[in-house]
Amino acid sequence: MTASSMTKPQKRSKRAKKSAASPNNRAALFFLAPWLIGLICLTLGPVLASLYFSLTDYSILASPNWVGLSNYTEMLTADKLFGTSLKVTFTYVFASVPLKLIFALGVALLLNKGIKGLGIYRTIYYIPSLLGGSIAISMLWRKMLGGDGLVNQVLLKVGIHAPDWVANPKYALYSIVLLSVWQFGSSMIIFLSGLKQIPSDYYEASSVDGAGKIRQFWSITLPILTPVIFFNLVMQIITSFQSFTQAFVISNGSGGPLNSTLMYSLYLYKKGFAFFQMGYASAMAWVLLLIIGCFTFIIFRSSRGWVHYEDGGK
């Protein structure tokens, strides 16, 4: 402000007034206008509205009636399917995220040490991540793991009579876990770029001191990589909790067989858009937010204990 008031007497220095130091509130408002409108109308407003709806019995067909916390209490006490969907989702997250990260790290380690053709391998391993979110791949998966699908044809060749994986309540969810683990490529690329940052003299120095490969992995590679592991873990957990498409396609929208693939998002969708219980679905959305928030918080808190930063600081 002072800089611009000093130049005030000279009329022609209007341009200088726009120098980087002076605030440009009006221009900023112009550039931020689309974002601001979106923020208010499509994010903040809806967040508040959804909190309100979660305390009502709103369906799109009739106007909302205040019901207090009864949506939440119904979820926790009466709605058995809600419990099922939580169990399915937790199983999915706890099975798929660690497996995916272990695979990603393992293959990244294989690819790391100046191997020839890294670019091609990296491309190949990324392809599942590229295509995996599509309907086409989910449909392929459903058909591949079905009773007479590709997997069972192969197993039959070696004399194993396998069940219909997607129609069996015991295995259906794990076929979706497999689909998720299959897409480890993008995590792997993040690990690869993390591995590249480790200075090679660390390894040279430690091998002079007589450390073997395994010892080097535990005391050099893994500690230096912990920030990357942390990042991958947070991202994967957040996205896994919201997983929808794969379960929808593989169970044909039902969450079956016997609700064994009734993921949280799928149940929320059914409540909101099949049964039009939009108040209830809003409450479910808030519970999901709470769950994801808790997990993120726990991982952040615990990270002080296991994530090492090279500069030794915060």
Partner: protein, 280 residues
């Protein structure tokens, strides 16, 4: 010594290739199956068709329930291109303001923007649906495109802010001295220099919109408005065991745009993922 070293290198290559082969097998098998006659698709484990059957593509292309597949493709293209244009413009505008301008409540606004990235879309889903319903936009492409013009994908703002911060400020200052206004600086200097960030935004917006099943499922109900994911699902619902060929053929077709973009822009993929952790 050198002998064992070479052996381990070979073993490593072998392991890597084996894993790669197993991973790609399902996709390759689907591509192969799309050229096989229906009756052998589920008995042939091999990829290469023993007998080439092009009719799958013709049958698939002719569509379903009186809607040619080209309609689903063009609907998807409209939605994806509309989303890309919106995201590139609105996110880069916001990013320019955050990276280069000083204004009141900047830190708070930036923090808020970062928070929205973490927000699961479920929380805004139902009120947004009600809003679009009241606007009469349900069963049109607007709910899928309009939010992108309002920079609701904070992630791309963040990505572009990071990129613009890395550009030398001297260019902006020189342009100011030459008499450029802020809009001109944004349009003529910052945007052309930020092209790599804009390409990353373009690629990922396109792919995510192309594959986005959830919103399209909610907002589009009329078959003539269906996009590729919804169209494919129609195939899945109405196909009996006998017409998996056409469905695989159209599945392959639906993956083609993603694949072509990937091959053309590999560099941006790897850099985009490695530097910002975009989920692929």
């Amino acid at each position: 010594m050198a002998e064992t070293l070479r052996k381990t290198v070979w073993l490593k290559h072998l392991a890597i290739m084996l894993i790669a082969f197993v991973m790609l097998y399902p996709v390759l098998w689907m591509v192969g199956s799309s050229f096989k006659p229906n009756n052998v698709i589920f008995t042939e484990i091999g990829i290469w068709p023993q007998q080439w059957e092009w009719s799958n593509y013709l049958a698939g292309w002719s569509g379903i329930q009186g809607n040619p597949f080209s309609r689903f493709l063009s609907n998807s293209m409209i939605v994806s291109i509309g989303a890309v244009l919106g995201n590139v413009l609105s996110c880069s505008m916001a990013a320019y303001a955050f990276a280069r301008l000083s204004f009141r409540f900047k830190a708070a606004a930036f923090g808020l923007m970062l928070l929205t990235i973490m927000l699961p879309h479920h929380v805004t889903l139902i009120p947004q649906y009600i809003l679009f319903n009241q606007l009469g936009w349900v069963n049109s492409f607007l709910p899928l495109i309009a939010p992108k013009w309002l920079a609701t994908d904070g992630f791309f703002i963040f990505l572009t802010v990071q990129f613009i911060r890395g550009l030398p400020k001297e260019l902006d200052e020189a342009a100011t001295i030459d008499g450029c206004g802020l809009i001109q600086i944004y349009w003529r200097i910052v945007l052309p220099l930020a092209v790599p960030a804009l390409i990353t935004t373009t690629i990922f917006t396109f792919l995510w919109t192309w594959d986005d099943f959830f919103s399209q499922l909610i907002y589009l109900s009329d078959v003539t408005k269906f996009t590729v994911p919804l169209g494919l699902r129609l195939f899945l619902d109405s196909s009996s065991q006998s017409d998996w060929g056409p469905m695989f053929a159209m599945s392959v077709l639906s993956l083609l745009p993603c694949f072509i973009i990937f091959i053309l822009c590999q560099k941006y993929f790897v850099e985009g993922i490695a530097t910002s952790g975009i989920k692929g």
